[in-house]
């Protein structure tokens, strides 16, 4: 989370993007001159199946206001099945976060191929707006160590 010079809230968003589809999709968004907010910090992972639930919790612990995971469309995974496993894991994890009372909107999974630069930019814009409307991540970071 940060506050800009106008005192406006800027969320900190961590995006885990798979190397083969979404990361390339982000590249395409850039080369197509499509904009998405600088609040999104992309972390490249080999596959959405690489995303350990711990990564998401740790991102929140270290101050993220929202976490989004982008991978290849089901069926298009570079490693054939990685995103299917990720889909099951994230379904359960998001349900658990909701269960302990953390807003469901702070986490999201989006499938985005290397040809979908426009979708990538649209998704990130939407997600940023959503997190900005939810405000500062109080629940997950209420007592976290401040820097």
């Amino acid at each position: 989370m940060s506050v800009n010079e106008n005192g406006e809230f800027r969320p900190l968003i961590v995006a885990f993007c798979c190397n083969w589809c979404s990361y390339a999709g982000a590249d395409l968004a850039g080369s197509s001159r499509l904009s998405y907010p600088a609040d999104v910090k992309i972390i490249r992972v080999p596959c959405s199946g690489r995303v350990n639930p711990m990564f998401i919790l740790r991102a929140f612990e270290r101050g993220a206001d929202g976490v989004i995971i982008c991978g290849c469309h089901p069926g298009d995974c570079h490693y054939s099945t990685g995103n299917y496993y990720a889909r099951r894991r994230m379904t359960l994890l998001f349900s658990m976060l909701d269960y302990i009372g953390v807003e469901n909107g702070r986490t999201r999974v989006e499938w985005c191929s290397a040809a979908e630069g426009a979708k990538f930019s649209k998704t990130m814009n939407e997600f940023c707006e959503k997190i900005a409307s939810l405000g500062k991540n109080v629940r997950l970071g209420d007592l976290r160590c401040k820097d």
Binding site: F60, T91, L143
Partner: protein, 319 residues
Amino acid sequence: MQGLIDRLTALLNDGTVARVLGWKKGDMPYNPEPAIFNSAEELKDFVYDGFCGANLSKMMIEATKLEGKTAVCLKPCDTYSFNQLIREHRVNRDNAYIIGVGCRGKLDIEKIKKDAKGITEISGTELDGQEKVTIKTIYGDKEINYTDALLGRCHVCKGKEHMIADETWGESKDTADQERFEEVQKLEAMTAEERFEFFKNELSKCIRCNACRNVCPACSCRKCVFDNTKFDAQQKANVDSFEEKMFHIIRAFHVAGRCTDCGECSRVCPEGIPLHLFNRKFIKDIDKYYGEFQAGKDPEAQSPLTDFTFEDIEPGERG
């Protein structure tokens, strides 16, 4: 109980097994502890009563590495854990001789202690005991219904069938009188704020003693992620409320799809945190989204988290 001891003695004497894994008398009448008996003489301390709630299947991981067979006493619910350990190749089935002991529900000493202080003796907790448990205290005698003092997990008993056993001893009773997911549903019906308060309140009691991890039959990794000193959730007191949540979410996640809902985590928690609520939530979700699944029922079954279908629901959707 004598019948069981006689049978175990016979097994040791005729060389079928080299040792017995069971429970021995504790220093109080209500805290028997898991123990290994190497000879018929040692069996004089053997005990099996209503306080033998400990699930011995996890100890079989080490016991089956020893020379010769180990006889182990498993209650119906413990056999699910044992099956799950076979599934994960953590125990050597050939080195185990399983005696499926009967069970009529296990007792929660905390419930008894609520209105009986200074306990000196407890009787009537054996398998063939009465409906009433007699408690002798330094302030006089008390009586309590057996069913009123049951552990929380026994109210959602999975049934009296042993999933795996070489022989059985004693009659079992299905003690289920509550809906398994009732508590989870109650929480789900609350608002997000109420749920957050509830878990904050419960989990802030956590002292990170790791008893839940150490007792859990599904937590049997040789190297545990929480023992890593270069890791945020290493074994230490919690700095903030987030860390304790992280520990319990991650622990529940690691056993999701493998947890048999044996309820040991809640039983051993010194702070009385209802830890089974996390595991049961995952079980409920798995049942709902990926079809009913009971870990440990079938040692051949594929765990839902190591499996997938093309039509799985998308994360965040509410099916």
